[in-house]
Amino acid sequence: MIEVRNVNKSFGDQQVLKNINATFEAGKVSMIIGRSGSGKTVLLKSIIGLHKPETGDIFFDDREFIRANIKFKREIRQEIGMVFQGGALFTSLTVEENIVFPLNLFTTMSKAEKLNRVNFCLERVNIQNANGMYPSEISGGMQKRVAIARAIALNPKYLFCDEPNSGLDPQTAILIDQLIGEITKEYNITTIVNTHDMNSVMEAGDSINFIHEGQNWWQGGREDIFNSDNKELNDFVFASELCKKIHKTTK
């Protein structure tokens, strides 16, 4: 479980996060949604320590993270898997080398064990016969799946995904969402997904945090969205004509 308490973050005069409080539970996919520039990426990066909030606390299973020393932070980070928006695969390494990378650094596995683990992770994300290929030789959807495979290589307790569906076609996006949902439940991972794709929210979101103007404006389950009277949430979720019609029908 990850707890965010009273987190504030500013860049210069602009306060991007305003007193954010949230709890993300294990075994659930928690979605952070919001408009571009609402502060959701800053929140995600603050949770994983890439940005340092001015005030507030973040706890990873009751372990204080923000004020922890760098050595302890690195220990916690070894329990974190992260899927970046662009995949962030190491371009000079093959698919196999990308996934074996954290295993080489943080495990004492034999070569055969590492290869087994790599193949298991690749199978888990439905990729075959791509071990020797470079990231530039595979499609965007495959890159995202390799990034997920790399993120789960060390059996993480926490999984973070920053817009995992951006730039993907709807069918591949659904596959990625399903994969994230399955992995989260299978390994009881605390998963936080940052997205503005409502299909993703409906497909995999167990709990939703709507960030608006740097505040945690609304929280709830995916079914609660349809019954909410929160104007800003409705404006965001039902922005398109199609969604507006669906919303009217469901109401």
Partner: protein, 253 residues
């Protein structure tokens, strides 16, 4: 006011550089991976530079011999001084300072653009999230590799430069081979080689660390990677020239 702002910015940059270096010079995670990375970097930084260093050294050695010979027209100047001046110029300045200025362009821009691209494509963030000290993982092998390769490149440059002079002497007859070789052996000061190697080590650290620093703090996109690369080369060159002056004053006077 403008001066104060510039001073503050300079101090802030130096501070940022020192903080980065303090994270670079820590114990690396996984010694096998570290040594593998060092060997990869030796190949990229050292081996891949052999060709350019060789070409430049041979031609410069030849041209240097020709120019000295053309200018030593007075009959009372012994001809063997052509060999001596070619030797000392190669050892003292060319094979260390000038070769490093060339390497600042080749190696420095390569390092800055490589690390800068890794920064803007979030590969460095990915390393940090995995719990890896990214500065140590990326920069330390480059510094060690440069410390291994640059002195070897310097020695190679000296040998090839002198050889270039020899070939030109033989081909054009501006100086006899006997005089040229006599000049090479005349009043040889072994400390000059040590001085050249010390300079090469200092410049190796300057080029790799300054270029890595500019790459590591790249923000933005492809355009900024290009700017970082240019800055890396410019600042490396300025620092090489400055430290050349300081080291010469400290070691030779």
């Amino acid at each position: 006011m403008l001066l104060l702002c510039t001073d503050m910015r300079l101090l802030s940059t130096i501070g940022k550089y020192l903080v980065l270096m303090s994270t670079v010079f820590t114990k690396p995670v996984g010694s096998r991976i570290f040594f593998k990375r060092v060997f990869q970097e030796v190949e990229q930084i050292g081996m891949d530079s052999i060709w350019i260093v060789s070409i430049v050294s041979v031609f410069m050695g030849g041209v240097l011999t020709l120019q000295v010979a053309i200018n030593f027209t007075a009959p009372y100047i012994p001809q063997y001084l052509i060999g001596l001046s070619a030797r000392d110029t190669m050892i003292l300045e060319f094979s260390s300072t000038i070769i490093c200025l060339i390497l600042a362009g080749k190696v420095g821009s390569n390092i800055a653009s490589e690390i800068g691209t890794m920064r803007i494509t979030e590969q460095i963030d990915a390393l940090e999230i995995m719990g890896v000290n990214s500065a140590n993982y990326l920069i330390l092998p480059k510094i060690i590799a440069a410390l291994i390769s640059f002195p070897i490149l310097s020695l190679l440059s000296t040998i090839l430069g002198i050889a270039g002079g020899y070939v030109i002497s033989a081909a054009t007859g501006v100086v006899t081979i006997y005089d040229y070789v006599y000049g090479l052996n005349y009043m040889f000061v072994p400390f000059y080689v040590t001085y050249s190697l010390i300079k090469m080590c200092v410049f190796a650290v300057i080029i790799t660390s300054v270029s890595s620093f500019h790459g590591f703090y790249t923000q933005g996109g492809a355009l900024e990677v290009g700017k970082s690369s240019t800055k890396a080369v410019v600042y490396s060159i300025i620092l090489i020239l400055l430290f050349n002056l300081i080291l010469t004053q400290l070691l030779l006077t």
